[in-house]
């Protein structure tokens, strides 16, 4: 294995195009490489190639979650989502750009069961242990998306700028299907460079987890208000960060036997989040 350290986005993209694998904070890529879930001959360490730092509404993709959680320019929902994400060391290492590509914590997927996300023909969680799994869009694959910041970005209506386009944060994600098992809609060689996170009038992130800190969301609720427009997005409830059209949309949840509690928790957190927006 070799490691490249491009200093410009173009060079990074070229290296990715040649089959390289992007490495930023390494919190996800390094363990998945060791487990053989990711494979590459060329690691492309993109730290020098992507912008880092916060300037008004613009956030460099190389900015760490630790930097985001304390910056007053960052909307409350995103700051809180970063603050409650992972562990302090993981937040100090992990970047917001990398976080968009965060993989599920589904234990079947992590242990390389031949599940749908690995190209197999069944979801082991549906008949197995699934208390941490999805309550929406869980028919094909019941994995839950674990990113707290991603839900906040969706609620805040963030835009993602890559080396080749700008797209709404919500469009970064796609539900896995028979034909494409990936949950990220970006090209394999596409490099996230920057995010634009418009300032809302009010925003909030609430999170239910098994510990007070250092746990992935059972349910995370991000909500943001801009004028009369209120947007709600959830983490931990679907294979991708989940935009909730309205609080009533929770009635359409399709929980598994072991995840019905998540609907109750989500209901309470959504109610509280909306109340907090004023």
């Amino acid at each position: 294995m070799e490691l490249l350290r491009p200093e410009r986005p173009d060079d990074a993209v070229a290296a990715l195009r040649a089959g390289g694998l992007a490495l930023a904070g390494g919190t996800e890529v390094v363990p998945l490489l060791r487990d053989g879930i990711l494979r590459t001959d060329t690691l492309v360490h993109v730290a020098a190639a992507v912008p880092r730092g916060i300037d008004g509404t613009r956030i460099g993709a190389g900015t760490t979650l630790a930097e985001l959680e304390v910056d007053p320019q960052v909307p409350e929902a995103l700051r809180e989502a970063c603050r409650l994400a992972a562990s302090p060391q993981l937040r100090a290492m992990g970047t917001i750009g990398g976080n968009l590509k965060q993989a599920t914590r589904c234990w079947y997927w992590r242990l390389r069961y031949p599940c749908r996300l690995h190209g197999g023909d069944r979801c082991h969680a549906r008949e197995g242990e699934h208390r941490e799994h999805a309550i929406f869009a869980n028919d094909f694959c019941a994995s839950a998306h674990p990113s707290d910041p991603a839900a906040a970005l969706l609620a805040l209506g963030a835009t993602v700028r890559t080396d080749r386009r700008e797209l709404p944060a919500a469009d970064v994600f796609r539900l896995p299907t028979e034909d494409d098992r990936d949950v990220v809609a970006l090209e394999p060689d596409e490099l996230v460079l920057e995010l634009d996170v418009p300032a809302p009038e009010a925003s909030v992130y609430l999170k239910a987890m098994d510990r007070q800190r250092w746990a992935f969301p059972l349910v995370g609720v991000a909500a943001a208000r801009a004028g009369s427009d209120v947007r709600i997005a959830l983490s931990g409830v679907a294979p991708i960060p989940w935009l909730l059209a309205s609080p009533e949309a929770l009635d359409e949840a399709t929980p598994l036997p072991g995840t019905t509690y998540k609907v109750d928790v989500a209901r309470a957190l959504v109610r509280r989040a909306l109340a907090a927006l004023g």
Partner: protein, 755 residues
């Protein structure tokens, strides 16, 4: 004088009858209360070495030429190896030795649980070893695994016999009761997760074998390895200088050590075998899950007339049946008790002792049931416990060597009284309440255990014994005991432990037995040295021995004279004063137990099922406290572990394949610093007058025992919800809340006048 006696030996609640030679324990106990060193807070004598990363753990042992091990383990809960070809692995770069199922008994081609080793190999580097395992060509034939505990009991798939106990007549007791409550409680499989995983380095030296190992029992490893390799035990030297936690899973020799030793023998090189975290969490032992069906009957005044329990323990493929019924048998005076315990043999990794095995699980059910009974009787839960106080051993009427549970209850009153104020702080979202639970456990230790003390010309003392300090502060406590007896300041005592070739036999660090077993031996050895020092000083200063004593690093005469100890010892030059001591017998005809009570304050978010423990008051009776600082740490640590057991920790197994799913520390959630409530510790600190020359019992296990039940009882107090299954996840809390509100609605419906 040495005496040969037949005695009951207890470890982790398991009793065995054994012959032992004991030395009479001729020393009077020290008066109650703090001495010059004992009973006063002492920072760990090895604290700097550990904190600075200088302490050498087994994980840090690097021997010249050392090889590294990797294993092919079964990925199936039950399988047969249909075809196995290790030729590519054997020829792989760096590989120096390889063992297949035909070579040794510790490997198998029909693995009965996930993770059982099938092939073990040693290579120049860890990476080469792992790579070589990938080259093993293996074809599995998966077999149907037996995973369900009830099914196993039905089929008679058991580890050991069904254990039945009865006193009085349960049915009569139930018939006599005014109120009967019953319930089914469940506990989950838990993983020890000592931060240092199981590991060893095996190094053949001539005809003998050196084993560096992370263990709670240096001598157990020595004997186990010696037996496996048919060596005279003293040809096996076991070294454990510093140890990164065990919690019961490292109580002796086990397969991975034998495999490393055999690989080392064949490769003629030192071999290191270190389990990674995932292997650790699959194969190195667990606290077994339970299903417990319990019943209690009482008269209207709260007098217990009947206690009954059926305990189904999911032991996995091996291990032993811990005493889950122990608390029901021991805690309360009740004439009619019947318990039945089953150890289900399953295609799951075997259990191992885990900090108060059995009693943690059994106290959960018993103490939750007691509060259910108190509610049914409309009686104060603390009062219910007092009304059924046992004044003598419930199983055979022996007197207790000491019991201060009543004093624990008395001291718990202020915390218990807070419940009115705590409840009053409830609001729409957060409901607050207070609950308590009692604790009973062993912890008396026993013989044999030995120590040596040597005092040099510099007037410093060295305690030598081949015990291990698993992180509980053993070195420090032993130093304190020796310092007290020798009248030395603590910084003039060294303690040498962790090497079977360098000191006499010492007890296992398990079953809360280290301090009560080793402490008296160290004191006896120090006293032997002190006696000799006084004899020498008497001659040197021309005084009668009876007027001399050792205090503050000096020889003190009752006539007013005093001399620095080193003034006496200086004349020895290379000479040394050598003291030896042995642990005396336990008191005959008495039951030695530890007691305590914990009071928990909780807040329950009734909409999301979140529970926040806000305060735990822990009061324990473990006899004399040697080191109040270390004792507090043990209590806090036990409670923190119990919080994990209560809320966030669970080994989940795939119900179809029987494979462990939560083997990594993101999925298996240990408590973090952010989960810790205010913890108030109190120790009765009353020496057990009948127990050894110290009157001290062990404290490692008691604090973890009552916490979960105290929390559950606080949740009941706060919300009326009856939780029954550990861990208390959001779903369990919401389920219980829902059930409670259904019950309430039903009551209102029944209570309402007919329309």
């Amino acid at each position: 004088m040495a005496r040969l006696i037949r005695t009951e030996k207890e470890v982790e609640g398991r009793y065995t009858e054994t012959w032992i030679v004991v030395e009479e324990d001729a020393l009077e106990q020290w008066p109650a209360g703090p001495g010059a060193v004992v009973g006063r807070p002492a920072a760990k004598v090895d604290g700097y070495a550990r904190a600075r990363g200088e302490a050498r753990y087994t994980a840090d042992v690097r021997l010249p030429g050392m090889l590294h091990t990797a294993m092919l383990r079964s990925p199936h809960a039950h399988a047969r190896v249909r075809r196995l070809d290790v030729s590519r692995a054997r020829e792989a770069p760096g590989v120096r030795a390889l063992l297949a199922p035909d070579d040794v008994e510790w490997l198998t081609d029909e693995p009965p649980y996930e993770g059982h080793p099938v092939v073990a190999l040693a290579a120049e580097t860890a990476a080469q070893a792992r790579e070589a395992v990938r080259l093993i060509d293996v074809e599995w034939e998966p077999l149907e695994p037996l995973l369900d505990v009830e099914e196993a009991v039905r089929r008679g798939s058991l580890v050991g016999d069904v254990r039945r106990y009865e006193r009085g007549d349960l049915d009569r007791g139930l018939a006599e009761a005014d109120v009967v409550v019953e319930a089914e409680y469940r506990t989950q499989t838990l993983l020890h997760n000592a931060l240092e995983t199981h590991q060893c380095v095996c190094d053949w030296q001539g005809e003998g074998l050196d084993v560096y190992v992370s263990t709670q029992y240096v001598w157990g490893v020595r004997d186990g390895v010696a037996e496996a390799f048919e060596l005279p035990p003293d040809r096996v030297r076991v070294v454990c200088e510093y140890m990164g936690g065990g919690f019961g899973a490292k109580n002796g020799a086990s397969g991975y050590i034998f495999l490393a030793a055999e690989l080392a023998r064949r490769a003629r090189r030192p071999v290191r075998c270190a389990l990674n975290r995932r292997e650790e969490n699959v194969v190195s032992g667990n606290r077994n899950a339970t299903i417990q069906r319990v019943v209690a009957g009482a008269r209207a005044d709260g007098t217990l007339t009947a206690l009954g329990g059926e305990y189904l323990c999911a032991l996995g493929w091996g291990g032993w049946l811990p005493s889950t019924a122990g608390p029901m048998q021991l805690l309360y005076a009740c004439e009619n008790v019947r318990t039945t315990e089953y150890g289900a043999k399953l295609n799951l990794p075997p259990m191992a002792a885990f900090r108060a095995p059995g009693f943690v699980e059994g106290t959960w059910s018993l103490e939750c049931l007691l509060d259910k009974l108190a509610a049914a009787l409309d009686l104060d839960p603390l009062e219910l416990r007092r009304r059924n106080y046992a004044h003598a051993d419930t199983m055979n009427s022996r007197p207790y060597s000491a019991k201060n549970l009543a004093e624990c209850y008395r001291r718990a009153e202020p915390a218990w009284e807070r419940r009115h104020e705590v409840r009053a702080r409830s609001d729409e979202r957060w409901k607050r309440g207070v609950g308590l639970a009692s604790q009973i456990w062993y912890g008396g230790g026993g013989p044999p255990s030995y120590a040596w003390v040597r005092v040099g010309a510099d007037g410093r003392a060295n305690v030598v014994t081949a015990m291990q300090d698993i992180g509980t502060g053993t070195r420090t406590a032993m130093a304190q005991i020796a310092a007290e007896e020798l009248g030395l300041p603590l910084d003039r005592v060294e303690v040498q432990v962790g090497d079977s070739a360098r000191g006499p036999f010492a007890s296992i660090s398990g079953g809360s037995s280290t301090l009560p077993s080793m402490g008296p031996a160290v004191r006896a050895a120090a006293a032997d040295a002190a006696r000799q020092l006084v004899e020498i000083a008497a001659q040197r200063y021309d005084r009668e021995e009876r007027v001399l004593s050792l205090r503050g690093g000096r020889i003190v005469s009752s006539d007013g004279g005093s001399w620095p100890l080193e003034e006496v010892t200086a004349i020895l030059q290379d000479g040394q004063i050598l003291g030896k001591g042995a642990r005396g017998p336990n008191p005959t005809g008495m039951r030695v137990l530890t007691f305590g009570v914990q009071v928990a304050e909780v807040a329950v978010d009734v909409e999301t099922g979140e529970v926040r423990v806000e305060r735990i008051t822990a009061i324990h009776d473990v006899g004399r406290v040697i080191n109040p600082l270390g004792a507090r740490s043990q209590i806090e640590g036990g409670i923190v572990q119990a919080l994990g057991h209560t809320f966030s920790e669970v080994r989940l197994d795939d119900p179809l394949t029987g494979r462990v799913l939560t083997r990594t520390l993101d999925a298996y959630k240990l408590p973090t610093i952010a989960d810790v409530p205010e913890i108030v510790c109190d120790l009765v600190d009353e020496p057990d007058a009948h127990l050894t020359n110290l009157g001290s019992k062990g404290l490692g296990e008691p604090p973890i025992i009552p916490t979960a039940a105290a929390i559950a009882n606080a949740i009941r107090d706060a919300t009326g919800a009856e939780v029954t299954s550990l861990p208390l996840t959001r779903e369990e809390i919401l389920r219980a809340l829902h059930e409670a509100s259904e019950r309430q609605r039903e009551r209102e419906r029944v209570g309402a006048p007919a329309a």
